[in-house]
């Protein structure tokens, strides 16, 4: 069954496409925005902006560390650089440069990492960003966003430009179902309740949100009513929404297309441990690199499916 079908969702664009189109659309409204690329603008979709505003687009070649520090310098000169690459190369190759050229001096730089997760498929593990959210969250002051669909990515792109200070936006390669056909009220740090229920709450983001909604639809047929929260911002985290869900539903499942270590699950668990200890289960890539393969097969093999999310809900209910 296709992604989002159980939940009655229609297929939409990849979030990287929504980002590229939004950035171009916002180009005139935000004249200080410039892009800095590392020879992958056709993958990240900054090329859509670059074609419309060629004088405001820089391509430094295959040189991510340099790219990030150049962006830091552009920000120091009053520009609002949007610097994009594959999530893995951006975070992993330029980690210290993000730290010293952007986060520590609090530069207004917008990091965008595409090709997140294992759903990129055939290119394989060397190209998969599965540790990026953890790494981005380590920087004090960094806003970290993982939108799930086209419309919310459009909103996230504008929110990122409005926000003063460093941000990280995670996008994906594959087409994703539309969660918000009529748009959404996207605010940094504010979760969106996509569906209500009293028996448990699934907190998800990115590609795992439509999968969570499919799982919720499947569980409803068995009489289990699940709340689903779109936790599109991992940092700052919407603690109030998490505490409310824990108090009202008593059980939490966190689902993300990321390693176990340091992602949304860790962030949610920290909040729960401190405020409202309730049973929690986690659906994620675990503690392993993946492999090459077709996206659907990989999601199956690495346990990111409607079935695994539904099973996690049942498990957490019985604890």
């Amino acid at each position: 069954m296709a992604l989002g079908e159980l939940a009655g969702l229609k297929m939409g664009p990849a979030t990287r496409d929504a980002f590229g189109d939004a950035l171009k659309a916002l180009g005139s409204k935000y004249p200080d925005v410039v892009t800095v690329d590392g020879d992958v603008g056709n993958s990240t979709r900054t090329e859509v902006f670059a074609k419309a505003f060629p004088d405001r687009a820089f391509n430094v070649g295959i040189a991510e560390s340099n790219m990030v520090s150049v962006a830091g310098g552009l920000a120091a000169a009053g520009k609002t650089p949007v610097v994009a690459s594959f999530a893995c190369f951006l975070l992993c190759n330029a980690y210290d440069q993000i730290r010293m050229s952007i986060a520590f001096p609090d530069m207004n730089v917008k990091l965008v990492g595409s090709h997140s997760g294992i759903s990129i498929g055939e290119d394989g593990p060397s190209q998969m960003g599965i540790e990026d959210v953890a790494m981005a969250c380590t920087f004090p002051g960094m806003v970290v966003m993982v939108p799930a669909d086209g419309p919310s990515t459009t909103k996230a792109t504008e929110a990122m430009l409005e926000h003063k200070g460093p941000t990280y936006l995670r996008t994906g390669r594959a087409k994703t179902p539309i969660i918000y056909p009529d748009g959404c009220d996207f605010q940094i740090g504010k979760a969106i309740q996509v569906r209500d229920g009293k028996d448990a709450t699934i907190i998800a983001n990115g590609l795992m949100l439509p999968i969570a909604l499919d799982a919720a639809a499947a569980l409803e047929k068995e009489g289990i009513k699940v709340r689903v929260l779109d936790m599109h911002t991992v940092k700052p985290l919407d603690e109030a929404a998490i505490v409310k869900a824990a108090k009202e539903t008593g059980r939490i499942v966190v689902a993300e297309e990321h390693l176990m270590a340091g992602g949304l699950g860790s962030a949610v668990a920290t909040v729960l441990a401190r405020t409202t200890p309730v049973p929690v289960e986690f659906v994620n890539v675990g503690d392993t690199y993946a492999e090459s393969g077709d996206p659907e097969g990989l999601l199956q093999k690495y346990g990111l499916t409607t079935e695994t999310v539904a099973a996690a809900v049942k498990k957490v209910k019985n604890r």
């Binding site: 690329d37 056709n42 090329e47 070649g61 055939e122 290119d123 060397s126 492999e291 090459s292």
Partner: protein
């Protein structure tokens, strides 16, 4: 190096290069993804290394400590490596058609943990030469006569790490290390001279203290000659600037498609048939 080098003739090597090119087209079209043109430009170099007697490896004992090492730093071009490995007997050629499929050891980028004969897991550009420096240092410490060959893309030379590795190799006078720059003129988003012009490579590499040769890299004779020279020099690291064409072997098709880069795109079934006709043995 091998004491008694098995000398394939230039004609034999050229025939083998054609076989590799056909494999590259077939496997990427079957996978419906991958980087055929990046693979095709490096065919002569890889063919000469594996079948011209330069790369002393044994498919029966892929971890034999005295083997030579080959690192494909531009890991996205792995179809050329897999094709050569299959022809050399590391695995059956039938496996080539499993490229990039779930469960296959032939991943989208080389993975040392899954495929014996792969010397470095690559795919994040810029790291292969540094890994090669480390291997060359370690092999020398153990007094092994193994040689390390690293194949780097011209766009990949944009990574600062490559230049750091060049400096390290010079410092330690790594005569057992050869870097081959596959100067095919293109990178992902366009011509290398437009994205980031890093020429003249030869002058820059020479300034870093390396022995440098610049050759026509899609012609077998100069490739073989350059490798002979490179492996004979033992007092410093050697570089070969291999001037090639991205997609060499199927250029008429790329011209028709108005895309001489054709980066990261497999040929359609129809174009693949045309390509295989061009590459008939």
């Amino acid at each position: 190096m091998v004491a008694e080098r098995k000398k394939a003739s230039i004609a034999e090597l050229e025939a083998k290069a054609k076989v590799l090119r056909r494999h590259i087209i077939e496997m990427t079209t079957e996978a419906a993804s991958g980087h055929p043109t990046s693979s095709l430009s490096a065919v002569e170099v890889v063919t000469a290394l594996y079948f011209g007697g330069f790369l002393n490896v044994d498919p029966k004992q892929p971890h034999w400590p005295d083997r030579d090492r080959i690192i494909l730093s531009k890991g996205h071009a792995c179809p050329v490596l897999y094709s050569a490995m299959a022809e050399a007997g590391f695995f059956p050629t039938s496996l080539l058609l499993t490229l990039r499929k779930l469960g296959s050891v032939l991943e989208g980028h080389p993975n040392l943990k899954r495929l014996p004969g792969i010397e470095a897991s690559t795919g994040s550009l810029g790291q292969g030469l540094s890994i090669g420096v480390g291997q060359a240092l370690g092999l020398r410490m153990d007094k092994r006569s193994s040689h390390v060959f690293v194949i780097i893309g011209d766009g990949e030379m944009g990574e600062g790490q490559v230049w750091e590795a060049l400096a390290t190799a010079h410092k330690y006078k790594l005569g057992n290390l050869t870097a081959i720059i596959d100067q095919n003129g293109y990178q992902q988003t366009g011509a290398a001279k437009d994205v980031l012009d890093q020429t003249p490579f030869a002058d820059k590499l020479a300034a870093f203290g390396w022995h440098v040769q610049t050759i026509e890299g899609n012609k077998m004779a100069p490739v073989v000659e350059a490798l002979e020279k490179a492996t004979a020099i033992t007092d410093r690291p050697t570089a070969i600037v291999s001037q090639t064409q991205k997609g060499f072997g199927i250029l008429p098709i790329l011209e028709e498609e108005h895309d001489l880069n054709y980066h990261g795109k497999p040929l359609s079934k129809k174009l693949a048939e045309k390509a295989l006709a061009l590459l008939k043995g």
